[in-house]
């Protein structure tokens, strides 16, 4: 048997060890900076960060939020900042992909050493970093998602929600529908995740049952089957737990099918200017006439907050389109500034949380924020907005309720007034 010629074995070991040795030698060593007493705070600046979709399918609906927040921080910084420090807002793109969120949030915490993560956007994305942020005791403030899961002071003491939660929205919208429409057949179209299920829980708490419950997946840009099923079920009043893009898609699809119904949407997908952007200036206003949604932030054209935000938007945001996202982003920025102002001369991660737990931070909504020692729930109530003649504005009462099976009650207090041009007093 002739032996097969082989290459010299002298070089083999190096090959086998190669991969591991490469791993050892290639990874560049970063200069470790010594952490300050409190991360993200120095003499002149406070550094905070966020994860938000700037690219990918969700970007169109949400990328304007972080831009608006940054603009408001610029406005604050030009007016002396908070405790003499300017606020630096690091915005990282996660393309609405939970896997990327993991990476960019670690970058924020470990590389940029932010004081807090503020307004991380999205239920699936933010869920992916909830454990990480609480494990590392990083303040996780004003999550841009209406999932009730942020309100867990026991398990996640470092996390504070922002949006009115979907259960509350569902309950108030259902209550409003009961008061408003006679002999209605109620149906719902919801996103196939917590957004849809929580909102539907809210609906069914008030309405006994729904004639049809449809779901859609963000990765599939076609809702013809769902709208067709709703039409077939004879639905006359349809609730939507949809993001803006799918609200537009649902209304557009229904219009194409010649299906007319009353639509009531969660605030997450009920922003009139954004929806007109999706549907087009020509048919948008007609399709959206009578469209009902919830909101919890100042929205009327003559509201002092809105006037201030418009001014800031023109001056610091290149006059970008003024939408609900603009108000949302700026409100979050204001609320963080207020928190920072209450957190003492030398803010720390702990003092931010203490400030919020004290209940002194009231925000700028139509109801004051509900944070407390054992509450991480921002807005306990919402108002109803309706589109009339191409203008979306509040109608009727503001309602408050809980996330259980408590009643929906009318709120008789005032909205939070604007003071000192939206620059929190320290």
């Amino acid at each position: 048997m002739p032996q097969l010629r082989t290459s010299p074995t002298r070089r083999r070991p190096r090959r086998t060890a190669g991969p591991l040795v490469a791993l050892v030698t290639i990874v560049p060593l970063a200069a470790c900076s010594t952490p300050a007493a409190s991360p993200g705070v120095d003499e002149e600046t406070v550094t905070i960060g966020t994860h938000t979709p700037l690219t990918g399918p969700a970007a169109a609906g949400y990328s304007s939020i972080s831009a608006a927040a940054s603009a408001y921080f610029d406005y604050l910084n030009d007016n002396g900042g908070i405790h003499g420090r300017s606020i630096e807002y690091v915005v990282k793109d996660d393309a609405y992909n939970p896997a990327t969120t993991q990476t960019v949030v670690r970058e924020l915490v470990q590389e940029d050493e932010v004081l807090a993560v503020v307004n991380g956007l999205g239920t699936p994305t933010h869920s992916a970093v909830l454990d990480y942020l609480n494990e590392n005791e990083v303040p996780d403030l004003f999550v841009a998602s209406g999932s009730p899961s942020w309100d867990q002071a026991e398990t996640y003491p470092w996390t504070f929600g922002y949006n009115a939660d979907y259960i509350t929205e569902g309950k108030v919208l259902a209550h409003h529908a009961q008061q408003t429409y006679d002999d209605a057949v109620y149906c719902v179209l919801g996103q196939d995740d917590d957004f849809g299920t929580d909102f539907t829980v809210g609906l069914t708490t008030v309405l006994d049952d729904l004639a049809s419950t449809q779901t859609y997946s963000v990765s599939n840009q076609d809702v013809t089957a769902q709208i067709g099923a709703m039409q077939a079920a004879g639905c006359t009043v349809n609730f939507l737990a949809t993001v803006n893009g799918f609200t537009a898609l649902a209304l557009g699809t229904a219009a194409k099918m010649g299906y007319r119904a009353q639509w009531l949407s969660s605030s997450s997908g009920g922003d009139y200017p954004t929806l007109v952007g999706y549907l087009g200036e020509d048919v948008g206003p007609a399709l959206l006439e009578g469209f009902v949604s919830t909101n919890y932030l100042p929205f009327s054209a003559d509201d002092p907050w809105v006037e201030l935000f418009r001014r800031v938007n023109d001056e610091y945001n290149d006059g970008a389109p003024f939408t609900g996202n603009t108000v949302f982003g700026m409100s979050v920025a204001y609320t963080f500034a207020e928190t920072l102002a209450r957190a003492g001369e030398d803010p720390t991660r702990e003092s931010l949380v203490e400030a919020l737990e004290s209940g002194e931070v009231v925000g700028n909504g139509i109801v004051p924020l509900g944070f407390g020692a054992d509450s991480r729930r921002a807005f306990g109530g919402v108002g109803i907005t309706v589109v009339e003649g191409g203008v979306q504005d509040y109608v009727g009462e503001v309602y408050t309720t809980d996330t259980g099976d408590g009643d929906v009650v009318v709120y008789d207090g005032e909205a939070v007034p604007l003071e000192n041009d939206g620059i929190p007093q320290t």
């Binding site: 002739p2 083999r12 190669g18 591991l20 793109d93 393309a95 939970p98 896997a99 670690r106 970058e107």
Partner: protein, 384 residues
């Protein structure tokens, strides 16, 4: 003897890499863990493409199978009250099995397909990942499956940070995967894979069953990809379709080609590039005084562009990839004064002594890699 040396080296390398984690800050350790996870996949892919000549554009889907296998098993065990090491081992085994089964199915189909048809089939698989995740209830659609947070085990808690611990686990799994692949490559199976790759008919005449060898290559490669998915899930405590996209699939392949087809060292270089390039690009765009609009646009895309350019430059200039270029440089240094060997090699390996000298492929007239004057096998291009 050789196998023992491989094992010793792997162990030494692992100890060295674990020592390295003490020099890195937490974020670098996180990146190291990601690189180790991708290494599991690229190493398997380089063996599949380089050794058995089968092209897979669907390795991200196999990673996803591993990731979901890990997550679902881990969830089930958590609710059954099993924790710690047993849970990790069982979930990792489940990941390997899930990916292996999917790889077996792919391999069975793949053995009947060639070139672009196989590439198309595997690509279809990865395109289907989000749809499968959306339509199977347990996989929870776009948000994916989250698992119980697993911190640093008790006794180590005072010593090391979480990221360092995760890097250790990732490196250990990668070491197992790469060592396994090295043993396969240097053993009888690797020899048969090369024989089938170079000439199926001749291999069949020599008593090798080409289909069986090809399927086996697919399964081995899938199992390691599944281990990579398991590590990713372990590190991030979640698995979602967004992590396993078509672009990851293509990037894995690009990483393998850039590193050097058929070379495990190349696979490691590729995996490190896969993690570092997007980060470097992000850092670069932050440093450069660009308008924020431009930065936004470059953020996700510039890394892909650089990868593409790198691929073109390398294929044109150094077909053996980075590892091939290193080997060639070494060979040139050694061969100073002697005429260079015709046909540069990537680190594609000739069978070694001590393994299978009397196997079917060793019979006269069999097709082994042809020996050149310098004892290096001639490189045959593997075109997908």
């Amino acid at each position: 003897m050789n196998a023992r040396r491989t094992l010793l080296l792997a162990l030494g390398g692992l100890v060295l890499a674990i020592g390295l984690t003490f020099l890195l800050d937490p974020y670098r350790n996180y990146q190291l863990a990601l690189a180790a996870a991708y290494l599991c996949a690229t190493a398997g892919l380089t063996v599949l493409v380089g050794l058995s000549g089968q092209l897979s554009l669907g390795h991200a889907a196999l990673m996803a199978a591993g990731g979901y296998g890990y997550a679902l098993t881990s969830q089930a065990l958590t609710s059954a009250g099993v924790n710690g090491v047993p849970r990790f081992l069982a979930a990792t085994a489940a990941a390997a099995v899930a990916a292996g089964v999917l790889g077996l199915l792919l391999g069975l189909a793949g053995a009947r397909l060639h070139g672009p048809y196989l590439a198309g089939l595997t690509l279809t698989l990865v395109v289907a990942v989000p749809a499968v995740a959306a339509s199977v209830g347990a996989l929870q659609g776009d948000r994916g499956v989250r698992i119980q947070f697993e911190g640093v085990p008790g006794p180590l808690k005072a010593l090391i940070a979480l990221e360092q611990w995760q890097a250790w686990v990732a490196l250990a799994v990668a070491a197992v995967a790469v060592t396994g692949l090295a043993l396969v490559r240097d053993g009888r199976t690797g020899l048969r894979m090369r024989a089938v790759r170079d000439d199926e008919v001749a291999a069949a005449l020599a008593g090798i069953a080409p289909a069986r060898v090809k399927v086996l290559a697919f399964v081995v490669s899938s199992v390691t990809a599944g281990l990579g998915g398991a590590v990713l899930t372990f590190v991030t405590q979640s698995v979602s379709p967004g992590a396993y996209t078509v672009s990851l699939s293509l990037l894995l392949l690009v990483a393998v080609v850039v590193g050097g087809l058929g070379s495990l060292l190349g696979a490691a270089l590729g995996a490190v590039l896969l993690v570092l390039l997007p980060w470097l690009v992000g850092t670069l765009t932050d440093v450069l005084p660009l308008p924020s609009q431009v930065t936004q646009r470059l953020d996700g895309t510039l890394a892909l562009l650089i990868f593409g350019l790198l691929l073109i430059v390398l294929v044109a200039g150094a077909p053996g990839g980075l590892a091939g270029a290193l080997t060639a440089a070494r060979a040139r240094r050694r061969a100073r004064g002697r005429p260079p060997a015709p046909g540069r090699t990537a680190a594609r390996l000739a069978p070694t002594a001590g393994d299978d000298p009397t196997g079917p492929a060793a019979r006269p007239g069999s097709v082994g890699p042809t020996a050149t004057r310098s004892g290096e096998p001639v490189r045959t291009p593997t075109e997908g």
